[in-house]
């Protein structure tokens, strides 16, 4: 399992390809990969968003992501997981988060990927501040994805 915070833009599909290719012993063993990419939109709550600052709590953020991944691993059988999350200044259309799970069967891949995303949204210490056309605002609360 690999968990990373990134201060600069990343290409989620290149990361998936690289992680899959570079992880030894995986070829031929996984039948299912479920990947989720969260991307910054240029609007939110009816306002145009110019850019965003993603605050985090160095140390705690990584620790909570590790816990979430371990929880998922204890609940579902999977071979590997990858979590990459941006921090810092983000522009519209840039990826914010990538979560991917490789497993033998598709049910576990979907379930574990979604579990990690939901747990990340509700428990990983990140805070978004949006820069609008006029002024700034902190995003107050994430909504449930179920």
């Amino acid at each position: 399992m690999l968990i990373q915070l990134r201060p600069t833009e990343f290409d989620p599909y290149a990361e998936l390809q690289r992680h899959q290719t570079e992880t030894p012993g995986h070829a031929g063993k996984y039948g299912a990969t479920c990947a989720f990419v969260g991307t910054m939109r240029d609007f939110n709550e009816n306002e145009t968003v110019r850019r965003m600052f993603l605050d985090h709590y160095p140390g705690m953020t990584e620790k909570q992501l590790e816990k979430i991944a371990e929880e998922a691993r204890s609940r579902w059988c999977f071979l590997d997981a990858l979590i990459i999350h941006r921090v810092g200044e983000i522009l519209p259309d840039q990826p914010i988060v990538l979560v991917a799970v490789w497993s033998s069967h598709r049910g576990a891949a979907f379930d574990a990927c979604r579990y990690i995303m939901e747990a990340l949204k509700s428990r990983a210490p990140f805070w978004k501040k949006e820069t609008l056309e006029h002024g700034e605002r902190w995003v107050e609360k994430n909504t449930s994805g179920y």
Binding site: D55, Q64, W138
Partner: protein
């Protein structure tokens, strides 16, 4: 007794600072830490707490050397 207190997200702006160092001897719980840094106020319901980078209850004990953090609901992903 020495406790480092850290603030994140919008709370950091409300507090007007990124952290505090507490040396008070009468601090037993996370709630006591909040009272010490906020002029005796109760911890708002929506503010989350962590002790040593794990989520903690307001009633959780704190001890010398702990890092206590307060922050609003998280909005990553």
């Amino acid at each position: 007794m020495s406790i480092r207190v850290r603030y994140f997200g919008s709370l950091r702006e409300k507090m007007g600072r990124v952290d505090d160092s507490l040396a008070a001897e009468d601090i037993v719980t996370v709630s006591d830490v909040w009272k010490a840094v906020s002029e005796g106020q109760y911890l708002p319901d929506r503010i989350l707490c962590a002790v040593n980078m794990d989520y903690a209850d307001p009633n959780a004990p704190v001890k010398d050397g702990d890092e206590v953090a307060f922050f609003p609901p998280v909005t990553g992903g």
